[in-house]
Every structure is written in structure tokens, then in C-alpha cells.
């Protein structure tokens, strides 16, 4: 285990990933990864493309199931071995507690902003139209998109779409939020509005796991940073150490290249 000691209290971790392993045939993309996230903690995962960081994130809600290891959310094991029907029931319940935000937003184009946010609460929590509307208004207000509640996704900018996608995830009142390169597909001038929403969530102590290429954002928001390369966690630590004074040569190399790229 790569326990870093000081910030790991004896408190039981909120999200607990143990010996995560994933292979596609002979190709091993995750090699014995361990990650413990405490309630309210914000963890950034950085690394070159193909390092396995998105795969790890997508394993947490079982979009990309692991081939070995365990993932726990509080006292529930997420990737349980169950017969198909029971497993479906189990995973649908687990996923309601884990919000996910994608690089390409994945809003439902045939539904309005309101429809996007209310669909799952209506279907899964049995909310009435009136209650679901109220919920949608609250969540959209939080991300600054209330005025666009009756727009269709095609009428929104990328940053607006992503904020709606965040509201859609928040409407299920998740315990954890997963962000998979949430700002990578955005024009540079639209990144900030999404970052602001994520900072707001951070201030509310939402537990978040963020796969990102935005080092300055990771540095300002996260409690902990993991650097992944070739399917392993190479180094992890608090952002001030990881970004200012990393110990591992691969981490140094990655950050050097990355920062050089950003100033081009």
C-alpha cells in the first residue's frame, strides 16, 4: 500500500481501492493500485495519456470493470461478484451515489436542461414533477444555469453544457463526484466557469476524485495528487510537494514536459 502516513488517520476510508488490477488480454493497464480517499477529500490524478488514470476512475463506478481487486464505498463493495440480475440491481443503486462528469458532457440532446437534470430523480427516486422541478432549479442555480433551464443542450456552449452535466450528477445527491477530464474538451476561455463550479463543490466538502491535465487547478483545489504512469501510481502526496518538489524522476519529467507545453 502507498499509505502516505500523516493525512491518513485511523478513520475508515470513504472510497477504498485495494489492489486494483485491469487487463485487456495480455495488456495490463492497471497494476495493483491502492487508493484511499477520506470523506470530503479531493484527490487529483495526473499522468500522461495511456497511464490508466481514466480507466481507474471509470472502474470506481464500474463503467470499466476491474479484472482484479476491490473497490469499496463506505461499507459497500462496489465491484461485487453477483449473478447478472442481482449485480444489475446492486450496481444501479451504487451508481446513484456516485456522480460522474465526462470530458464530452454526454448531455441527453433530446431533453431540455430541465429534462436532463430531472430524468434520474424522477425515474429512480420517484420524485413528482413539482419536486423534481424544484430540485432541478436548485441544482441549476448552484451552477449558474437556472436561466437556461428550458434550453436544449445544442443551444449551449461547452462550458454551459458541462455545468449542466454537473447539476445533473448533483441532482442524485451523490456521496462522491468523479471528474474525467471535465475541462479538456473546452475552449480555453470556457475552462474557468467550470473550474469555479468545481471549486464551489470543494468548499462544500464534496468528496471528489478528479482526473485532470490542469495542474494549476489541481494545485489550488486538491488535498492530494497522484501521479500515474504505465498503470501504476508512481508518486503521490500533497500538491505543494508534488508540483514544487517531486521526488520521482518520472514525475519530474512529466511535469517539466507538461509545463513546457502549457507555456508554448
Amino acid at each position: 500500500m502507498n499509505d502516505q502516513g500523516d493525512h491518513m488517520t485511523d478513520q475508515k476510508p470513504f472510497v477504498d481501492i485495494q489492489h486494483a488490477q485491469k487487463s485487456y488480454g495480455a495488456l495490463e493497464v492497471l497494476k495493483d493500485i491502492n487508493l484511499q480517499v477520506q470523506k470530503g477529500q479531493i484527490v487529483a490524478i495526473i499522468g500522461p495519456s495511456g497511464s490508466g488514470k481514466s480507466t481507474l476512475l471509470r472502474a470506481i463506478n464500474d463503467l470499466d470493470p476491474l479484472t482484479g481487486g476491490e473497490i469499496w464505498l463506505e461499507d459497500k463493495q462496489i465491484n461485487k461478484n453477483l449473478p447478472h440480475r442481482q449485480y444489475e440491481k446492486h450496481i444501479n443503486l451504487v451508481r446513484q451515489e456516485i456522480g460522474m462528469v465526462f470530458q464530452h458532457f454526454n448531455l441527453f440532446p433530446h431533453l431540455t436542461v430541465r429534462g436532463n437534470v430531472t430524468l434520474a430523480p424522477k425515474m429512480l427516486k420517484g420524485l413528482s414533477d413539482a419536486d423534481a422541478n424544484k430540485l432541478a432549479e436548485e441544482q441549476l442555480d448552484k451552477v449558474g444555469m437556472l436561466e437556461r433551464i428550458d434550453y436544449y443542450p445544442s443551444q449551449l456552449s461547452g462550458g454551459q453544457k458541462q455545468r449542466v452535466a454537473i447539476a445533473r450528477a448533483l441532482a442524485m445527491n451523490p456521496k462522491v463526484m468523479l471528474f474525467d477530464e471535465a475541462t479538456s474538451a473546452l475552449d480555453p476561455e470556457l475552462v474557468e466557469e467550470v473550474n469555479l463550479v468545481m471549486k464551489k463543490l470543494a468548499e462544500e466538502h464534496m468528496t471528489m476524485i478528479i482526473v485532470t491535465h490542469e495542474m494549476s487547478f489541481a494545485e489550488s483545489v486538491c488535498d492530494r495528487v497522484l501521479f500515474m504512469d504505465q498503470g501504476v501510481v508512481v508518486e503521490e502526496g500533497p500538491p505543494e510537494v508534488m508540483f514544487r518538489n517531486p521526488k520521482n524522476d518520472r514525475t519530474k519529467e512529466f511535469l517539466r514536459k507538461h509545463l513546457a507545453g502549457q507555456h508554448r
Binding site: L63, N92, N106, F108, L119, M123, L124, R168, M172
Partner: protein, 210 residues
């Protein structure tokens, strides 16, 4: 000449009736076939694929002949009209299976992931996220299937259903005017197909707005 018109109108009505019933049967079989093709069970997927290859891989005329002339030998007794509807319907269903399947798999995988990550079940994802989007995509290509199928109704003349083509042939014997008889039949087909085409366009526009 005027004496033949009432017969042609009646024949056109039979063609319309054949087309409507065949479309309904084709859509039902297409939906069943597409579900089978997309099943998570390999055996059901295989059955769906077999249905499509058999009925797209042989002439519709042979399928009709087997059903109408060969059917009684294996205990299937159908009158010509019934055989026409069932034979053409099964044939159209094979084409519609592929159309519907194509529209469903054209929906971005990210849509399914987004629906599943908020906790929607496979069924709810299909019903509320994938199908509403796929329906819009399939209206026009299904219109093409229906267009082809209306024209294929001419084949049932060969098993003596008194529709447009059969009626034209029948009056050539008494009028000796094949040009006029087939022209009348052709014009009536065109009217039926034009109206159907307009209906499909209207549906397509409506689906785009909503």
C-alpha cells in the same frame, strides 16, 4: 376504357391495404428482430442474424411461392391475400430489423454511459435515452424500406391477389392495350408512394422539432 377504372380503383385499394398491413407486420418484426440482434444472449443474437440473412438473401418472390404454394404441403393453408401480407411482412421485417438496429447502435456510447452512471437500468436507458434519439434517426430509412415494400406488393400478382399489377394484366386480355393498362397501374402506384413519402417527411420534421 372507362369500364376498367372502377376495377383499377378497387385494385388500388387492395394494394393500399396490403401495404398498410405489411408495414405494420414489418415494423413489429423489425422491432423484435432488432431486439434479438442486440440481445446479450448469443443464441438470440444468432437467431436474429439468421432471420435477416435468410429473408434478405433470397428473392421475395421465392419466399411468397414457398409460403403460398409450398405451405399446404406442410399444413399451412392461407388464401392468396393472407399469404401476400405474411410473406411480404416477414420480408420487410428483415430489412427493418437492420434499419432499426443501425439507428440504435448509431447512438453515442457516451449517452449510455451517462444514463448508466446516474443509476438508470439497462431498460430505462434504452427506453428514455437511446430509443427517443434512435427513433428520430430511423424514420427516414424506414421510409425507404416502406417505399421498397410498396413496390414489392406487385409480386403478389404472381400468387393471384387481385391488386394493381394483377388487374392490369387481367385487362390486357380483353382490351389488348398493355401500354395503357400498365401505365394506369404505374400512375396509381406513384400516387400511393408519393402520399406515403409525404407522410414520412412530415413525421420526420415533426420528430426533429419536438
Amino acid at each position: 376504357m372507362q369500364k376498367v377504372f372502377p376495377f383499377f380503383l378497387e385494385a388500388a385499394w387492395i394494394t393500399v391495404l396490403l401495404s398498410v398491413l405489411t408495414t405494420i407486420l414489418g415494423l413489429i418484426l423489425g422491432a423484435v428482430g432488432a431486439s434479438a440482434r442486440l440481445s446479450r444472449f448469443a443464441l438470440i443474437r444468432f437467431l436474429g442474424a439468421a432471420y435477416v440473412s435468410v429473408f434478405r438473401g433470397t428473392p421475395a418472390l421465392i419466399q411468397l411461392f414457398i409460403l403460398y404454394f409450398g405451405g399446404p404441403q406442410i399444413g399451412i393453408q392461407l388464401d392468396a391475400f393472407q399469404a401476400g401480407v405474411i410473406g411480404l411482412g416477414i420480408n420487410a421485417g428483415a430489412y427493418m430489423t437492420e434499419t432499426m438496429r443501425g439507428a440504435i447502435i448509431a447512438i453515442d456510447k457516451g449517452q449510455i454511459e451517462a444514463a448508466r452512471t446516474v443509476g438508470l437500468s439497462r431498460f430505462q436507458t434504452m427506453r428514455y435515452v437511446v430509443l427517443p434519439q434512435a427513433m428520430r434517426l430511423m424514420i427516414r430509412p424506414l421510409g425507404v424500406n416502406i417505399n421498397a415494400m410498396i413496390k414489392a406488393t406487385a409480386l403478389v400478382a404472381a400468387i393471384s391477389v387481385v391488386e394493381l399489377t394483377y388487374t392490369a394484366q387481367r385487362f390486357i386480355g380483353s382490351t389488348y392495350k398493355p401500354f395503357e393498362m400498365f401505365l394506369i397501374a404505374g400512375i396509381l402506384y406513384m400516387i400511393i408512394i408519393y402520399i406515403t413519402g409525404q407522410a414520412v417527411s412530415w413525421l420526420d420534421r415533426k420528430a426533429r422539432i419536438s
